[in-house]
Symmetry: C2
Subunit: 345 residues, 2 copies
């Protein structure tokens, strides 16, 4: 039996380039991983019209995890790959924990004048299977002056409580042991009340964890003025989408951001991907930074229970970033080689 069976969706643009480095690093720290490539994304869509055939989804379901590079290019109509591939996997594989860590690594700089490397170390636990992403909504009288369009946020105690539980469990394993709930309880009173009550119930089981609540507008502001104050942030699907991009912006930028769409029970495969897109402008030149893809691979290893291997990979990226000359050119494959050697060492 292999140590893990991984489905690899290299995807479009720089996706294949950065995923190749992530695989090098995984092989270096965990020999024996079985990897199968799946051709999905803009290229396949253009060639065959297919986004995610049933048969491919069934094969993906047989893996322990999915490593994804990036999908999309400007010629695919907006929404096609997002809803047909990324969101479909999140919902069908019940990936209810959308995990987005943000760290300001030594060697990188924040756009914020007063924040120093090492001072930002937060993780957003974003709900991944509910809220406004449920696809509930519709429109009437389209293209007339009487048109009305709705979008409905669906929230269940089941869905809210389990992601809050995950956030507290992660806080238990961190040094600062603090969880911030972000919502908009003063306006979204029904969903807000559900989130607040579920949060209080779970918090009562973790008397050792510090808790706070913030409205989403205040949290968006404090992520800019005091990102140091956050440890674990738990929030709903759409708020998490926005807040994680702010968190990425104030730390090393979206180019260094890793993410996991996780089913913690491992009933289905979880998916790990860098947050940067396919970056068609620099694709094929071998100059894309594989750091975010490699950090995503570390999340994958951690999720599969290989936490020592994950720690070594993260440490290799930290060392690589610390050693960089700001603004200096890099070669994707060379960075991958260095990271693999460092992580293995």
């Amino acid at each position: 039996m292999s140590v893990a069976r991984i489905a690899v969706v290299a995807g479009d643009g720089i996706g294949p380039e950065v995923v190749a480095q992530a695989r090098k690093v995984i092989d270096a720290v965990l020999p024996g991983v079985e990897a199968t490539e799946y051709d999905l994304g803009a290229a396949r869509y253009h060639r065959t019209g297919e986004v995610l055939p049933e048969s491919v989804q069934a094969e993906l379901a047989g893996h322990d995890a999915i490593l994804l590079g990036a999908v999309g290019d400007p010629t695919v109509p907006p929404g096609v790959l997002e809803r047909g591939l990324l969101l479909r996997l999140r919902f069908d594989f019940d990936q209810y924990v959308n995990l987005r860590p943000s760290r300001l690594w030594p060697g990188t700089t924040s756009p914020l004048a007063t924040v120093k490397p090492g001072e930002i170390d937060l993780v957003v636990v974003r709900e991944g299977t509910e809220g406004l992403y449920a696809g509930a909504g519709g429109s009437l009288h389209r293209d007339t002056p009487a048109e009305v369009a709705t979008e409905e946020s669906l929230n269940t105690r089941h869905g809210v409580e389990r992601v809050i539980r995950d956030a507290f469990a992660r806080a238990e394993r961190r040094e600062r042991r603090k969880v911030t709930l972000v919502h908009k309880t003063n306006v979204l009173t029904h969903a807000g009340s559900l989130w607040a009550r579920a949060f209080q119930a779970v918090a009562a089981e973790h008397p050792d964890i510090e808790t706070e609540y913030q409205h989403v507008d205040a949290a968006a502001m404090f992520l800019v003025t005091q990102p140091q104050r956050y440890d674990v942030v738990v929030t709903d699907n759409l708020f998490g989408d926005i807040l994680t991009d702010i968190a990425a912006a104030v730390s090393g930028g979206i180019g260094l951001a890793a993410s996991g769409s996780i089913n913690p029970e491992r009933a289905y495969p979880s998916m790990f991907e860098p947050v940067h897109g396919s970056a068609p402008d620099i694709a094929g030149q071998g100059v894309a930074d594989p750091a975010a893809a490699v950090l995503s691979a570390a999340l994958l290893l951690d999720h599969l229970g290989y936490s020592d291997a994950a720690t070594r990979v993260t440490g290799a990226v930290a060392a690589e970033l610390a050693a960089r000359t700001p603004g200096a050119a890099l070669r994707t494959a060379e960075v991958g080689d260095r990271l693999a050697a460092h992580a293995a060492g």
Copy 2:
């Protein structure tokens, strides 16, 4: 007949202190304004249990505009004053343009290392009467494991088109003449499509205005990394709530942010208020900065058609900020006196 009849809701905490300065400045640039004080906010709620009596609302309706200081204190249950007073006025008085300008004034500093005073000058035109603020939603099986809670975003062609029209009209009066639509069309497909189609239709009537579209997560990020790129931003109620706090954070901070909840047709009174809260920690000491309240008064004057007076008030605030020593203490009333003298001069 008076030049304008203004209802003044000084409110709680520092509200009365900063509103007094705004009134000084208004009187200095536009003698003859008739102002009536209304006692609303946390203090009245604690004394009488009332938030907004029908009779008071009817009196407010008879004014040309409302100047509000700040309402609330930590002892009022969350949502009571927000929904019962602020949101109720926005909806009942059809204040569909929620206007939030952000400028990085000379003399102030951004938390962003690379952004220099003068470089940020944007205005968010936030829809104020629809979307997730409509109050449509509910819950079932409350406090059981089967609980479900919904929040519905309601969007009409009527409501969306009129606020987009207002955004383009404002862009026509600005130098850069650019409008950015922010939404999340790849996930909120129904409302997103309505917004995108209405935006295209209005844009076609303004071939001279540059347009762009951004997803809300990308806009949140770019407000941190490149706030200089924005001129007029038009977006829905909840996205606007979040984006305006980011815009405030990257310019002088929420302490300098002015806002207007506007009914452009003047069928109902519009309301103008600083975005900072009642700041109970510094209330009564005479040290609150009245700049945001005075900038809100400028928006009020502009809305009532006194654009020269508005320009003089804004100019006075700009001069005041440019002359300040960063970190130096200020006296609320002295600042108000200086601003009034400068604006009158």
